[in-house]
């Protein structure tokens, strides 16, 4: 394998002098081989990360990532990019904190600037019950060795001058919590960076290749049927987010996952005036401003199974109203575009990173709203699971069996209602 062309300010300078004629492709566009040691289905962040860590951590480089469209075009390319590890349940805390640590070194690790920006993730609350919940959660993080801070209204006024702290609004903000190490990242770059780094280690990234069937022989996965012909596989990892249940079904496995829509929207870009990420408990909206200047707003699910990637305008009105209420200045902007992603909603709101009841088949999925931040650790854990044919302790709790035994990881206490999480 040829060494990867390094990116740096010097390479840019050299590029400028040569009219940028010498840049190599960030990843190749190979024809699929007849078979691979491991095939990853899904070229989102998770699939690409899995391939990268398989090659880097486990020395398994005879790997293909099959993507039915273009890499990063799924939820990786349509999310609100919030990265944090401020979870309630210890199992989730450990996992997401591992992920956050990987984020912190990711740009250098991949030699690709994913613009991870630890600008702080703030949750504001409005009632005593919410306060108790958020403080408990953040105190719990401290015991898990994760950074967490309490914010008074004065702190909020200082950190987020655009935030509406008036006591006269419908659900006034009484305080907040912050994870300072949390932040955002440039979503597309995450897919591209992993792809480039995985490719450099020998992984074949194959786009426009839809998996249409999974052949199982004697209880073991042997081959994938794809739109570009059959591809043999020693092991298979599924990382297809909203499509998890479809792919698992191809191998005869049912999953406690439903597919639901989540909308996000951006304003026209303006100069920076929101420097952190703020989540608003009362109205379920989260707001940040990208490095290009758009105000980026997300909300809650449309609330019914859907694969359409088109959100309901009712939900849109809702999230824009809450963004405008809590960031009144946003009302002066105009909405530029909105879109939706198909979410893999698990029945307890926590992920599944596990071997499936077919030999050689494992998956990562069930990410609900929160899988972007999980990208590094999800890939790391699935790679481990595939390489060792057994889960790492970090992902052992995220099994499929927990839904059979009742040992669910119900982060929100919403019960087995996929759209309730």
């Amino acid at each position: 394998m040829a060494a990867m062309q390094r990116y740096s300010i010097f390479s840019l300078l050299r590029g400028a002098l040569s009219g940028h004629r010498d840049w190599e492709p960030a990843w190749r566009a190979p024809e699929p081989k007849p078979s691979y040691d491991v095939v990853i289905v899904g070229g989102g962040g998770h699939g690409l990360a899995t391939a990268y860590y398989l090659a880097r951590n486990h020395g398994i480089a005879n790997v293909a990532v099959l993507e039915r469209g273009w890499i990063g075009g799924g939820n990786t390319g349509r999310n609100t990019t919030i990265v944090r590890s401020n979870y309630l349940l210890p199992e989730n805390q450990r996992f997401y904190e591992h992920s956050l640590k990987l984020w912190e070194g990711l740009s250098r690790d991949l030699n690709y600037n994913v613009m991870f920006s630890p600008r702080g993730v703030i949750n504001v609350f409005h009632t005593d019950a919410q306060r108790d919940y958020w403080l408990r959660r953040h105190n719990g993080m401290r015991y898990a060795g994760i950074d967490a801070e309490l914010l008074t209204r004065a702190d909020l006024a200082r950190l987020v001058p655009a935030l509406n702290l008036s006591p006269d609004i419908r659900h006034p903000i009484i305080g907040g919590v912050m994870q300072p190490r949390g932040g955002v990242a440039r979503h597309d770059a995450v897919a591209w960076g992993y792809a480039r780094a995985a490719d450099a280690l020998g992984v074949d990234i194959i786009q426009d290749c839809e998996v249409t069937g999974i052949d199982v022989e004697g209880g073991r996965v042997t081959r994938l049927q794809t739109s570009r012909g059959p591809i043999g596989a020693g092991r298979v990892g599924l990382a297809v987010a909203g499509h998890s249940s479809r792919l698992a079904e191809m191998a005869g496995v049912r999953l406690p996952i439903e597919t639901h829509l989540l909308t996000a929207t951006v304003s026209e870009p303006v100069k920076p005036f929101i420097d952190t990420v703020v989540s608003i408990a009362a109205t379920h909206a989260y707001v940040s401003q990208t490095d290009k200047g758009e105000v980026l707003i997300g909300g809650s699910l449309d609330g019914y199974n859907s694969w359409s990637q088109r959100g309901s305008p009712a939900r849109l009105e809702d999230i824009l109203a809450s963004a405008s209420e809590y960031f009144p200045r946003v009302s002066r902007l105009r909405q530029l575009r909105h879109w939706a992603g198909v979410m893999d909603m698990s029945m307890d709101g926590s992920p599944i990173i596990a071997k499936l009841p077919v030999e050689g088949l494992a998956m990562t999925g069930g990410w609900c709203y929160g899988g972007f931040k999980a990208t590094p650790a999800s890939g790391w854990c699935l790679a481990w699971t595939l390489a060792n044919d057994a889960p790492h302790t970090l992902n052992a709790p995220f099994s499929l069996e927990r839904f059979r035994t009742g040992a669910v990881l119900d982060e929100n206490g919403a019960g087995p209602v996929a759209w309730g999480h």
């Binding site: 630890p118 405008s324 009302s331």
Partner: protein, 982 residues
């Protein structure tokens, strides 16, 4: 100098020359006319540099005529009033308007940021992914702030938009999007057929392309025909005409949003904008087409303009976009434009047609010629023309001019069709992306469907209108479609570009042809990758002019047909919509009503501090002179426990259950048995979710053999009803049970404390309140304080207590009469804090404990679950993890230091060193108990019941506070329940 040096002496059907208006641009005063857009006003005034570009700060002028404008972005207003990112082509001129060019400091004509252009070589597409990585700590400290400084187009808003915005939700048989010839013909046909029609166009005036250039319809002037048709439509009561109204989004089941900015002649006090939600049976998409650019070196210079726009400024506004023009293009429209410009007084220096041939003796033609390069650095000073076939030895021809009007052909506005998930097809021969199979009940017509001749547009519009009306059952209208002699179709099958130099594709994001090429070479081969890698098409114009260019360049770079490249996804809105319009009506109480109990006015008058309980507000406590919050709450508790208190419990959910199978149903609904209740008696009940977790609790009262009354928690009023109906309608439809939500009908107040019996005795003299006649958990109908009431004997506080329910309209009367009656008893109104304190002292659970993860056994309520018989959620209790040892269990925590107070959100841990370690559990509820003189908490603790007697720590590391506490029974007070009897 004349005030409007570039205004022609006559012409301009959109302006009113009798009404001059003054406006400021970048601090300079100019004059225009009513009816002008800011763009036409600026052009008339001779302002050519209107903005600076995003990345390289290159000077930019007006390119287009309407929403497709990529360049001329301005901010209107100053400071709080500033509105960024408006397209000058869409801003109507008004008296005193203040506008500023964007992306420049101090101004667009002298922009220091222009230096960025010098470093341009370092900033190819995606350059930031390749650098700024080391050292890591410089990213947040240096690199990112630098990038953020460059971010955005306009200034950040510094104040909210306080204007009034309106919304309207309507239904229509036919919505026609776009009011050009096709749209007006469609609306006319559908309306004459009797259909309810909405016709929306984004311009001030209907006419579409006819606004920009004259045409002939039915043997007269085209615009006159439009006006007559519009007048006919206006007179029909089943037609609604929306001007300055953009069809923004096309959603499921034919719901479309239309953003109307009345402005113009709208009456004073009219909303700043109105957002329509139109549910249409059928939609005619007659949105026209966008003119394409040509790519050549310097095609972004101020003075290079869409040809139809240049013609349009002359025709619609009487404005000359230059004095001396070169018109260049690859289709016949350039001749129409050249003549239009010439008749308005613009000199035509050359007309360069990339094709050979043409009949144009009256014009200085350069058949087979095209623009190679623009001369002039801040604005167009001339062009270098060359032969389009690139014949060797051609040195080219320099032509001086100040306007280059270009037409690269037309791209149908397929946006709405695509938003509706219609498929698109690429017509190789015509070089057009066209609507294919529609994705909803809609049809495209006219230029939006690739029909470019006026006669064809009219015919197609008419046919579409007839068909759209037919889908709501309306018959073909009488009359014939309008006709035009104009059958010219300006086909331009080739996407035109010349090689070399700085050729801009996306003017807004400064994406050049070289950037697209670089992306393709670097492996970003999907059109979606190119968009995201270069930002092509991601600006406020959403690629209306750049999209097609991007596709062609990418396809060429990869050597594959355009059809295989495909387009990026079209998403709403078609043009940006004010956030305030989307949000209007849904802020504050408009979104979440504030629910008030019947006694709310009293609480407010009494100065209660309120707390939120779902949408309700409830008194938290009643402040007292000279006491702080804790003291006031403690006083409420003490006075209740020692005497008598009253609390408003009107917010609890209440359900009336009747029917032959009512009792049997309640046995299924609750984990404990209800069918054994005797009439006139009640029981505390536990509802589970199917997964075995506690869902809700409340009291069930049996009012008659087949009649029950039950309460739910405040939070679950609606969920509980929905749950009940689900079970009745889908799981056990054979049961005859009627459930009615009566929450709103009843107000309720609880009297609590040893003095409650005496007080109630006086208020309800006929009622025998002895323990025998009216035992615990009994219900009686009675007259209380002169009002017919239901009285329940039950207790949340642990004291002798009665809940009295009356119809809500008499709730305030009950409340005030009891308070009057209770004056001699020292009756104390108490709020949710005192109520919470007393319930914690008694170890009663609420949602803080039943948090959706806990089972009855976790909460110490395992015995309530009856052993036998089916019931919702019971089966799940048998799952291994719910029976597992070591689950968290509800315990009491008694703080050892009597002076200590528990802060919110504490964890329960084994050591007080605050070092990372897995907590044993967490505090669910806490209070200072005036009764016991110490702080108490309820907590869920691993294996908690077995730890009774152990000392643990209640800790909040975020505020560095911890305190020792003993694990005790959650019932801190009166474990025997003797106080229930007074």
């Amino acid at each position: 100098m004349r005030r409007q040096p570039f205004r022609a002496a006559e012409g301009g059907h959109l302006i009113d020359r009798t009404e001059p208006l003054r406006f400021d641009f970048d601090g300079h005063r100019h004059e225009g006319y009513r009816g002008d857009s800011l763009a036409s006003g600026l052009l008339a005034a001779g302002v050519r540099i209107v903005a600076r570009s995003f990345k390289y700060h290159r000077p930019r002028g007006v390119w287009g005529f309407g929403p497709e404008e990529p360049n001329a972005m301005v901010t209107t207003g100053v400071r709080e009033e500033a509105r960024p990112n408006l397209k000058a082509t869409e801003v109507p001129l008004s008296e005193g308007l203040e506008a500023f060019g964007q992306n420049a400091w101090p101004s667009v004509s002298w922009d220091l940021g222009g230096a960025a252009g010098l470093a341009g070589g370092l900033m190819p597409a995606g350059f930031y992914y390749k650098t700024f990585m080391a050292p890591a700590r410089w990213w947040p400290a240096l690199y990112e702030p630098l990038i953020r400084r460059m971010a955005g187009f306009g200034p950040a808003p510094s104040a909210p938009d306080d204007a009034f915005y309106a919304k309207r939700r309507i239904h229509a048989d036919v919505l026609v999007a776009g009011g050009g010839p096709a749209g007006v013909a469609a609306a006319l046909a559908a309306a004459r057929a009797g259909a309810r029609v909405v016709l929306a166009d984004e311009n001030v005036r209907f006419g579409g392309d006819l606004l920009r250039a004259p045409g002939e319809i039915d043997e007269g002037d085209g615009l006159d025909w439009i006006d007559t048709a519009v007048a006919e439509l206006e007179a029909m009561s089943h037609v609604r005409l929306l001007r300055r109204a953009t069809v923004a989004g096309y959603y499921d089941h034919n719901l479309l949003t239309v953003a109307e900015r009345p402005g113009g002649e709208a009456p004073a006090g009219a909303p700043a904008a109105r957002l329509w939600f139109v549910r249409a049976r059928d939609v005619v998409i007659a949105a026209g087409a966008h003119e394409r650019p040509l790519l050549f070196d310097g095609n972004d210079r101020p003075g290079v303009m869409s040809a139809s726009a240049a013609g349009g400024y002359a025709h619609a506004y009487g404005v000359l976009a230059g004095r001396n023009a070169v018109v260049a293009g690859n289709n016949d429209s350039i001749y129409r434009v050249a003549r239009l410009l010439r008749s308005a007084g613009v000199g035509i220096a050359a007309v360069a047609d990339t094709r050979s041939g043409g009949d144009i003796r009256d014009l200085p033609c350069r058949a087979g010629g095209t623009v190679e390069r623009v001369l002039g650095s801040r604005r167009v000073r001339g062009v270098l023309l060359r032969r389009a076939d690139g014949r060797a030895g051609d040195k080219g021809e320099r032509i001086a001019c100040d306007l280059v009007a270009v037409s690269g052909g037309w791209s149908p506005a397929v946006h709405l069709h695509a938003q509706a998930r219609g498929s698109l097809g690429y017509n190789e021969e015509r070089g057009l992306i066209l609507p294919d199979r529609p994705g909803g009940a809609n049809r495209s017509a006219g230029a939006a469907a690739g029909r470019f001749d006026l006669d064809g547009c009219l015919a197609e519009g008419w046919t579409a209108g007839v068909a759209a009306a037919a889908s709501s059952g309306h018959e073909r209208p009488a009359g014939e479609p309008p006709r035009s002699p104009d059958r010219s179709a300006w086909e331009a099958p080739v996407f035109w570009q010349t090689g070399g130099g700085k050729r801009f594709v996306d003017l807004q994001y400064d994406v050049t042809a070289a950037d697209v090429d670089l992306a393709a070479r670097e492996g970003y081969r999907s059109v979606e990758h190119v968009k995201r890698y270069t930002a092509l098409g991601m600006g406020t114009d959403q690629g209306k002019t750049s999209g097609m260019a991007g596709l062609v360049l990418l396809s060429e770079a990869l050597g594959r047909p355009v059809a295989r490249t495909g387009t990026t996804t079209f998403r709403p809105p078609y043009t940006p919509v004010p956030m305030a319009a989307m949000a209007s009506g849904l802020i504050g109480e408009g979104r979440d009503a504030l629910r008030r109990t019947a006694a709310d006015d009293w609480h407010e008058a009494r100065g209660a501090l309120f707390t939120a309980a779902g949408l309700w507000r409830r008194p938290r406590y009643y402040p007292r002179e000279g006491m702080d919050e804790e003291e006031a709450i403690s006083a409420e508790v003490r006075e209740t426990r020692a005497g008598v208190g009253i609390v408003d419990v009107g917010t609890l959910g209440k359900v009336d259950i009747q029917g032959r199978d009512a009792a049997a149903f309640l046995d299924l609904l609750y984990a404990n048995r209800m069918s054994s209740l005797k009439t006139g008696r009640g029981r505390y009940g536990l509802m589970l979710r199917e997964d075995g977790r506690v869902f809700d609790d409340g009291v069930v009262m049996r009012l008659g053999e087949n009649h029950f009354y039950l309460t739910t928690t405040t939070a679950h009023q609606h969920e509980a009803m929905q749950h009940i109906e689900l079970l009745l309608q889908t799981v056990w439809p054979e049961l005859e049970v009627y459930a009615t939500d009566v929450t709103e009908h009843w107000f309720a107040a609880a009297l609590a404390g040893p003095g409650s019996r005496a007080l109630l005795g006086r208020a309800a003299p006929e009622l025998d309140l002895s323990d025998d006649a009216f035992p615990m958990m009994a219900v009686r109908a009675a007259t209380v304080a002169g009002l017919s009431a239901l009285v329940f004997r039950m207790s949340f506080s642990g004291e002798l207590s009665y809940e009295i329910a009356v119809p809500a309209d008499q709730g305030l009367a009950l409340w005030t009469r009891l308070l009057t009656e209770g004056r001699e008893d020292g009756l104390t109104p108490y709020g949710t804090e005192a109520m919470g304190t007393m319930r914690i002292e008694k170890g009663h659970v609420t949602h803080a404990e039943a948090d959706g993860r806990t089972t009855p056994d976790d909460l110490g309520l395992g015995r309530m679950v009856r052993a036998e018989g089916p019931g919702i959620g019971k089966r799940s209790l048998e799952l291994p993890a719910l029976r597992r040892k070591g689950r968290q269990q509800l315990v009491g925590l008694s703080v050892i230091d009597g002076e200590a107070r528990i802060p919110p959100g504490c964890q329960v841990v084994e050591s007080d060193d605050m070092k990372p370690a897995p907590p044993l559990g967490h505090v669910t509820s806490f209070c200072y108990s005036p009764t016991l003189g110490r702080a108490l908490a309820l907590a869920l603790v691993e294996n908690g019941r077995a730890r009774t007697g152990q000392t643990v720590y209640i800790a909040s590391p975020m505020i560095d506070l911890s305190m020792a506490a003993e694990i005790v029974s959650p019932v801190f007070y009166d474990a025997q329940g003797t106080r229930l009897h007074g």
